[in-house]
């Protein structure tokens, strides 16, 4: 058991910090208040990710044969931490390198890999994730968007909602129903967003401009080559993807950085010398660090090539607890941050609201922990 970073890992983190310091514009903290999916940040992310790719820092954890550096999951974790702490200058592209790419590598056909992996590795792709529907949120297996095979095309009809980045994404990782066999009736299509029949409507959000959308599919014709994996294999594939995604955003890192920033502001302004504030700050720090180490325990398993199971839900819920308490700390002791006094803290607050909602609601994580970690009997349906 070793809690020390290796010299090589430390050097990698330092390299990332230096890259960020040299690359991000001077007004970045204010600029980053644009939502990750906003047109401004999406445009900036193309430039930023291109530079990351030039420095071989965009997909260093991918295998060498498809443009990566073959680095281990610890490097992926360090990369994700540094980017998220910086305010995620990769915008929506973080999703590409975190789970879209790895899922393409594991399940994609040769054609799909050749078409989709290079743009991701070069930092010029943006994907959206067509999962939730108006009637299917946490109960994802009840989704109704239907794809009917007609010769060499699927005809897709239905509606998605809460779809991040859909306004500017080129491709949708779309879950749709190809039969009525609940989970086994769900398939994945990789759908170009400029296909006729797709309509996107942005939903104003607390996170910022351009983050969540409704997407309508009206008689959208998608060639059979777009089928990802086999018909009915979606549940298996997204289980793999979500394990990556649940760990993909190291929110504990930004939460802790925001807490440190808040303390620093309180000290500068002479408001730190107050036991009530210190006690709360320490409690919040404990939650952040507990979430961090629980997440590192998961990365350890991945680094050993072991299957990551329901313990990732426990790490994820720990992160939700931390994220929330940091937001509450800032509101209570630095309310001016949510006006415009401290852009970094405002950015954290805007994004923090998502922590327990996206990528599987916090309550679903608790269900998974109850059933699969604690082995409690399921609730009858």
């Amino acid at each position: 058991m070793d809690f020390e970073w290796t010299p090589e890992e430390q050097a990698f983190r330092l390299r990332l910090k230096q890259f960020l310091a040299a690359t991000l514009p001077d007004d970045w903290e204010r600029f980053s208040q644009h939502g990750p999916g906003s047109p401004a940040l999406t445009r900036y992310a193309e430039t930023f990710c291109g530079k990351l790719a030039d420095d071989k820092l965009l997909t260093p954890h991918w295998p060498k044969e498809i443009g990566g550096e073959g680095l281990d999951p610890w490097h992926q974790a360090i990369l994700a931490e540094e980017m998220w702490i910086a305010g995620e200058p990769r915008g929506g592209q973080y999703m590409n390198v975190n789970w879209i790419g790895p899922t393409l590598i594991k399940y994609g056909s040769q054609w799909q890999q050749e078409r989709y992996l290079p743009p991701i590795a070069e930092g010029r792709a943006l994907w959206c994730q067509g999962f939730s529907e108006p009637g299917s949120g946490s109960d994802l297996a009840s989704l109704r968007t239907r794809a009917v095979l007609e010769g060499d095309h699927y005809r897709v009809n239905g509606q998605k909602i809460w779809t991040s980045y859909a306004g500017l994404a080129q491709t949708c990782f779309l879950l749709c129903r190809t039969s009525d066999d609940r989970k086994r009736g769900i398939s994945i299509l990789l759908v170009p967003m400029d296909t006729p029949g797709i309509t996107v409507r942005q939903i104003p959000s607390l996170i910022g401009e351009g983050d969540i959308h409704e997407v309508f599919f009206d008689d959208v014709l998608v060639p059979v080559e777009a089928l990802f994996g086999n018909e009915g294999q979606a549940w298996e594939i997204i289980a793999y993807s979500l394990v990556n995604e649940r760990l993909g955003i190291p929110r504990y890192g930004l939460a802790r950085a925001a807490l440190d920033r808040a303390v620093s502001v309180l000290k500068e302004e002479g408001r730190w010398n107050n036991d009530a504030v210190k006690i709360e700050a320490a409690n919040v720090a404990a939650l952040c660090e507990a979430a961090r180490i629980a997440s590192y325990a998961i990365v350890t398993k991945r680094a050993h090539g072991e299957l990551v199971g329901p313990e990732s839900s426990s790490a994820r819920f720990a992160t939700v607890m931390a994220e929330r308490r940091v937001a509450e700390f800032v509101v209570e002791y630095l309310p001016e941050a949510l006006a415009d006094a401290h852009p970094y803290l405002k950015m954290h607050h805007q994004r923090g609201i998502v922590a327990g909602i996206a990528a599987g609601a916090a309550e679903i994580q608790l269900n998974i922990i109850a059933t699969d970690v604690l082995k409690l009997p399921r609730e009858p349906r």
């Binding site: 058991m1 320490a282 507990a290 629980a294 350890t300 109850a370 609730e379």
Partner: protein
């Protein structure tokens, strides 16, 4: 960074489990408030499990792994202070050890008895060997440990050449590691009971109101474990203060819930849950409680 147990640690845990298996299987019917077995204490000392902190390649982190595991047993043991604090003071493992803060001498001390070594934490770290007339037994105490109080503290004490930071760091790690094991065992016992107990035609633990709160307890318990183990690995005062704080906060959050979930059985001495939860209550008050540990953490992190 690698948070998996190494081969030595796996072997130690296996051997420890073999040693403690008979103790884990004892009858727990009406044990009273405290369950203590001197034979277990002797076996743990004799076997060398409590000496590992002094072995450079094993260190305090392995001691914390052992302490967490031993704390899951229904028997109260002094393993935490023996394995984690005693080596810092040059005391041999197995020495009955109690710690008292100079400004809180009235509090009940676990395992205080004639012949025990009492460490006094004040402006410096000192200790003395307790005589019979300095001990007031507390047979009616509600804590899950055998506890006694000090009638007096002698002024003539042995001085230990350790810094307050080092000492408090070890004490906090010991508290957090033991708490992690107690939380895990208490949670496990509640999960078993609420899975077996049927009401409204189905297991209690199938109701979401209970499932979610138990799951949240799992998250807290997991957090305490990892913060304790990390602090044991780094011996960093900030890590240790966070671990102790999180342990005491977790105890506050879950102990009453656990008894609540058990219904009537949660009020009895027939079920062993109290053996772990009532120990957590005493640990929650050590080191000045949550507030003092939080202030220590804040000072260590931010100054």
């Amino acid at each position: 960074m690698d948070l998996s147990l190494n081969d030595d640690q796996v072997a130690i845990v296996d051997a420890l489990d073999a040693l403690t298996r008979p103790y884990a299987a004892v009858s727990l019917h009406e044990t009273g408030f405290a369950l203590f077995d001197p034979e277990l204490e002797r076996e743990l000392s004799k076997s060398g499990f409590l000496d590992v902190a002094a072995v450079p390649e094993l260190g305090v982190v392995t001691a914390a792994i052992i302490v967490e595991r031993v704390a899951r047993l229904p028997q109260a043991t002094n393993a935490a202070l023996s394995a984690i604090v005693a080596p810092l003071l040059g005391l041999s493992a197995g020495t009955p050890l109690c710690i008292v803060e100079e400004n809180a001498q009235a509090r009940p001390l676990r395992f205080l008895c004639e012949g025990a070594t009492v460490v006094v934490a004040g402006h410096s770290i000192t200790s003395f060997t307790v005589t019979g007339d300095q001990v007031r037994a507390e047979p009616e105490a509600l804590y899950g440990y055998p506890v006694s109080s000090l009638r007096s503290v002698p002024s003539d004490r042995q001085q230990h050449d350790v810094s307050l930071d080092e000492f408090y760091t070890r004490w906090r790690i010991a508290l957090a590691a033991e708490s992690a094991g107690l939380l895990a065992a208490a949670l496990q016992s509640v999960c078993v009971y609420t899975t077996d107990r049927n009401q409204f035609g189905r297991p209690l633990a199938s109701f979401q109101g209970m499932r979610h709160r138990l799951a949240e307890a799992q998250v807290r318990t997991n957090g305490v474990y990892w913060l304790a183990i990390k602090a044991a690995a780094t011996l960093d005062p900030a890590d240790a203060a966070l671990a102790a704080l999180h342990a005491q906060e977790a105890a506050r959050a879950v102990v009453y819930d656990f008894h609540q979930f058990m219904g009537g059985m949660g009020m009895t001495l027939e079920h062993p849950l109290h053996l772990w939860t009532y120990r957590l209550k005493l640990l929650a008050s050590e080191l000045g409680g949550r507030g003092a540990n939080a202030l220590a953490a804040a000072d260590a992190i931010w100054g």
